[in-house]
């Protein structure tokens, strides 16, 4: 007799997991409704999201794009979406976008800032990404002069003659150092180019221009405006404040009394003063001190002030990175017999800068957004232009459309900077977390 009632001879086929344990349902349950408090929060958040979007989306899309004045916009919107519809008047952006981007720069010259911007990306690429060939750094070094020439124009000899000053530095060092010792060589390396810039560069450029007038039309600074102005000031400030900040941070940690107190004094003075005060100094006070008739370009003045301002903050960020390094790193560098500069370059700075990346990028983003303060001293940055555009009778009364456009542009730039910093942090991460 067979008392085995049932023997399974083959495996049961696998069943699909229960619906609640798979796919979107599982995700929703785990992430949105895991327990009662979280479910309540989710529902509340969804509700607020709905409130915001239901007000915002109709405004954005019930809009008038082709209109020549605010009243025309209103008529178009009323006709298309009913008498009570409120919508954005994007006509103002269509009419004025070029002004928001380039200010009063002559329209047939727009290729110049555009080329400068594209070349800027090219010049930045070897700095930002290590995959790009190192030889590109040569271009990066020359780029500031190209940018100046493209944006302002004028004779090509002026940037070339200023550039020649940088060539003079190593040459004079090489000539003087064997004759009068290393220190004299260093001093000559600094003094000769400064003398060149102060005394000879201008006249030489003028002479060369009279011999061979090569150049493009000169565009004065007063024509600069919009995002072009923000980016010009921002990029200059960023590019110059990092090295200046490193020098200041090292100065502050130095054992040499004078260098240390000068660095501390500079940093604490600048950090104790609001940027807007410095901008007012640049725009109004300097005018009194300079001899009358001197035209010291206002944008240049602002660039200098912005650079000094962010350099002080940068110095403190980098000092934080230096302080975070274990003492052993300094001692190890000494033990290897490296001198001060070699130790900084090969051991200390790479680590300190890596630690400070988030802070550095934060300062950069802050600096870029701070450039909008220049509208208070009458420069036509995007915010200043938004006021000027509203002064046109056709667009008086427009507010959010302009601000939305400006905010979007700023967001793009700042968000890319922040993304890049995250990329850099991941790439440089050498410890195991």
């Amino acid at each position: 007799m067979s008392d085995v009632a049932y023997v399974r001879t083959e495996m049961v086929p696998e069943k699909a997991p229960p619906a609640s344990q798979v796919g979107p349902i599982k995700w929703v349950r785990e992430n949105l409704f895991p327990d009662i408090p979280n479910s309540v929060l989710t529902i509340l958040a969804l509700y607020f999201l709905y409130l915001a979007l239901s007000a915002l989306l109709p405004w954005i899309f019930h809009s008038a794009v082709h209109a020549n004045s605010l009243n025309e916009c209103r008529e178009i919107i009323r006709e298309a979406y009913g008498p009570d519809a409120v919508g954005a008047c994007w006509g103002v952006i269509v009419d004025r976008w070029h002004q928001l981007l380039f200010g009063f720069y002559p329209q047939d010259m727009y290729w110049r800032p555009v080329t400068a911007f594209v070349l800027l990306l090219v010049a930045l690429s070897p700095v930002l990404f290590s995959q790009v060939p190192r030889k590109m750094l040569m271009f990066t070094a020359v780029y500031p002069f190209i940018m100046y020439f493209l944006l302002w124009g004028g004779s090509i000899w002026l940037p070339l003659s200023v550039m020649f000053g940088f060539v003079l530095a190593p040459i004079s060092h090489k000539i003087v150092a064997p004759l009068a010792g290393n220190l004299a060589g260093v001093i000559a390396g600094f003094a000769v180019p400064i003398l060149w810039w102060g005394l000879a560069a201008g006249p030489v450029a003028e002479y060369l221009h009279s011999v061979a007038p090569v150049g493009i039309e000169y565009i004065e600074s007063a024509k600069f405006g919009g995002f072009m102005l923000s980016i010009t000031i921002g990029i200059t400030g960023i590019a110059l404040s990092l090295p200046l900040g490193i020098v200041l941070a090292l100065g502050r940690r130095s054992d040499l009394l004078i260098i240390k107190s000068l660095s501390i004094g500079f940093i604490e003075f600048i950090r104790g003063v609001p940027l807007i005060t410095l901008l007012f100094v640049a725009s109004t006070l300097l005018n009194y001190f300079l001899p009358p008739g001197t035209t010291f370009d206002i944008i240049l003045r602002v660039m200098i002030m912005v650079t000094l301002f962010s350099a002080a903050y940068m110095a403190e960020v980098i000092r934080g990175g230096l302080a975070a390094l274990p003492k052993g790193q300094y001692e190890a560098a000494d033990a290897l017999g490296l001198d001060y500069w070699k130790a900084q370059r090969l051991i200390i700075m790479p680590q300190a800068l890596k630690i400070s990346i988030p802070g550095i990028v934060g300062t950069f983003i802050g600096l870029f957004k701070d450039t909008t303060l220049v509208s208070i001293i009458g420069l036509m940055d995007p915010l200043g232009l938004s006021n000027a555009i509203r002064a046109d009778q056709a667009w008086n009364g427009i507010l959010w459309e302009l601000y939305a456009f400006i905010a979007a542009m700023f967001w793009i730039v700042c968000f890319s900077m922040s993304r890049y910093s995250m990329y850099l942090e991941r790439k440089l991460q050498t410890d195991h977390r």
Binding site: L70, N71, R74, D95, R96, H98, Q99, G103, F104, Q107, A222, K223, F280, S283, T284, L285, N287, Y288, F289, P291, P292, G293, S375, I376, I377, G378, M380, G384, N387, A388, I389, R390, A391, D392, Q393, A394, N396, G397, L399
Partner: protein
């Protein structure tokens, strides 16, 4: 103390140096263009169009001066100045003249060392309220919330007015006209107060302008005019008489349309003197004989400029009111050209 004395001395030295420079007229002629300080953007008075060309009531005055001095109304470069930077820009010589709806006051004229070269617009502070508030006079505004731009004379005028009438108000401080407009429409304040030209310009941008009224009271005098540095009398005379030429042109019926006809000579000796066909008024100013002809030709006479930029046919829709010719009951009056 020592430090402030040092900076003070530097400032004074700067002023002195600025004044010691050659006459502004020579500077302008040497440069070949006029550097004119204007507002960073004020509806009807100064605004750049989409090509970056400035236009407006104040801007026209700059162009008229440029035309009088250099013969070309386009030979102007505009420096946008804010309320905070305008006086330093003029004092330091960054601009040659300021045409930036600036109120002529004692302290600006005397203490800040400027010369006001006439008045091109008589403004005054007023109030705007929604019709639904049911107010027909500013005297009924006791207890109202008032949107007011901070740091301007309007703030002080408002305090004076309410104190004189033994009324209370609650200020809602705002920074710019655009912000005020937004707050006022959102109902954050019952009343918006600023210059009446500004109120009219703002009201014109509302979806339903008819729901708002500008109250009849004018609580301050705001004579707006061009100004120049004190101590350069020749240059001040040029700006003053250019403005007077525009005003006289309206009074005498010289328009941009008939000026060429009149410039051939008329029976009215004053017209002839202005247009340079008789006498040599331009020479006395150190200018060309045709100076006033060029100035008027640039943008028309005072009345034409008014109608074009802020008059009743524009969106702002200001009536002449105080700014009518003296013969029509206004205050616009030019001394005779003789």
């Amino acid at each position: 103390m020592k430090k402030s004395a040092f900076f003070g001395a530097l400032t004074v030295a700067g002023f002195a140096a600025a004044m010691a420079s050659a006459g502004t007229l020579d500077d302008v002629k040497a440069k070949g263009f006029l550097q004119c300080g204007v507002s960073t953007g004020l509806v009807g008075f100064a605004a750049p169009d989409s090509n970056g060309n400035w236009a407006g009531f104040d801007v026209s005055l700059c162009r008229a001066v440029a035309a009088a001095v250099l013969g070309d109304p386009q030979a102007v470069k505009f420096t946008p100045t804010t309320g905070k930077t305008r006086f330093t820009a003029l004092a330091s010589g960054e601009v040659d003249m300021l045409a930036r709806n600036t109120t002529w006051t004692f302290s600006r004229d005397v203490d800040l060392k400027f010369t006001f070269d006439g008045i091109n617009y008589y403004d005054g502070q007023g109030f705007m309220v929604p019709k639904s508030l049911g107010v027909s006079s500013a005297k009924e505004l006791d207890g109202a919330t008032v949107c007011i731009q901070t740091g301007t004379t309007t703030e002080l005028n408002l305090a004076d007015f309410f104190r004189a009438n033994k009324m209370k108000y609650e200020p809602v401080p705002i920074e710019t006209n655009a912000e005020a407009r937004q707050q006022f429409l959102a109902g954050a304040c019952d009343v918006y107060t600023t210059d009446r030209s500004g109120l009219a310009a703002t009201r014109a941008t509302f979806e339903n302008p008819d729901n708002y009224v500008v109250l009849p009271e004018v609580i301050s005098k705001e004579p707006l005019g061009p100004l120049t540095r004190q101590g350069d009398d020749q240059w001040s005379d040029i700006v003053r008489w250019t403005l007077n030429a525009l005003i006289s042109a309206e009074e005498l019926g010289i328009t941009s349309a008939n000026i060429d006809e009149l410039a051939k000579g008329t029976n009215n000796p004053e017209i002839n003197r202005i247009l340079g066909t008789e006498g040599n008024l331009g020479g006395m100013l150190g200018l060309d004989k045709k100076w006033a002809y060029n100035a008027i030709k640039a943008g028309g006479n005072y009345g034409e400029i008014f109608e074009k930029y802020i008059g009743e046919k524009t969106a702002i829709g200001l009536s002449r009111g105080l700014n009518a010719q003296w013969k029509d009951g206004g205050l616009i009056y030019s001394p005779p050209f003789r």
